[in-house]
């Protein structure tokens, strides 16, 4: 009996929570274009670097006292580390990064809507400005094809 009473209360809770909450709907044209852009550019002949550290994921990472500085992300793949320092400027991001060991000449910053290249210095450092918010993927180039690609991360 107790279980049934609980079920009734659970059903009432769901009905109450549904009120005023949005119902799931189809995606916007922009999301559809992003999905198609990612599909068209998905074939990358390079090892993929995965996120191994993200300051956003640390406990207290979004407390006001902890957000005065940039967000730090480290990705690693095929013996190469990509260290990123991401700062927000409205809807744009500034990404200062370092590839360790330095193995390329340029970093391509890819969004689902396009790509731009930024030169890398001899120490593997680069700065990408006016990067759009949302999903971004970085490709490290050394003159030929990409040597390393990061997975997509939302910035």
């Amino acid at each position: 009996m107790r279980g049934r009473g609980e079920d009734e209360r659970a059903d009432l809770l769901i009905a109450e929570l549904r009120r005023g909450r949005p119902e799931a709907g189809p995606m916007s044209d922009r999301v559809r274009r992003a999905a198609d852009g990612a599909f068209a550019a998905r074939a990358v002949e390079a090892p993929v670097a995965e996120v191994v550290d993200d300051s956003l994921e640390r406990p207290g990472g979004v407390r006001p006292s902890a957000v005065s500085g940039p967000r730090y992300v480290v990705l690693r793949g095929a013996g190469v580390e990509v260290r990123l320092e991401i700062s927000e400027h409205g809807d744009e991001r500034r990404v200062a990064g370092r590839v360790v060991p330095p193995l390329g000449e340029a970093v391509e910053v890819r969004s689902p809507f396009g790509a731009r290249e930024f030169a890398m210095d001899g120490g593997g450092g680069f700065t990408a400005r006016a990067v759009p918010r949302g999903p971004v993927r970085l490709l490290v180039h050394d003159g030929g094809g990409p040597r390393l690609a990061t997975r997509w991360i939302s910035m």
């Binding site: 709907g25 189809p26 979004v62 006001p64 967000r71 689902p112």
Partner: protein, 194 residues
Amino acid sequence: MSDQTRDASTSAAELVGRAADGDHAAWRALIRRYELMVDAVVHCHGLAGQDAEDARQTVWCRLAEHLDDIRSPERIGSWIARTTHRESARQARLARRARALEAGEGARLLDPVDHRTPESEFLRAEEDRGVREAIAAIEEPERTVLALDLHRPGAPAAEVADCTGLALEEVASVRRRARRRLLRLLRGSDAVDV
């Protein structure tokens, strides 16, 4: 009825295979099949506006990236659900960080407490926070079942099964369990399963 589930899974696996081979129509069909579930999960993490758009975009980018190394294509629905929860939780942290940054920059311009907030809005915000925290504490498949229950009421059991990897006949009992779990987390119920 279980044949229906099996057919749905087979066709999801077929779509994954064809999309991995570069078939754009299969890619679009895959998206159409799971876009409502993705939207439900994004909503249950309390995301709206541009934050919700960023989370949705990131999920499809991750799927495109992942197409070539999917080990269990027949379970792609539950992979997309897990990825959407992870990306939505990360996006929610990004959104809180952006708000905290704005608050820090504009601290002197803002009242520390907004006394104009009506009680009903405060209660609603508290309820939303409770749901987000409960969703974070609940594991798969209950988590995605709840997201669909809240934001896609009336979703056919076959769709819930396809999105969670559950057998069709398990959907009703998992939904029941998930609702009880949410009740206990939100209301601190002392009731126990009998």
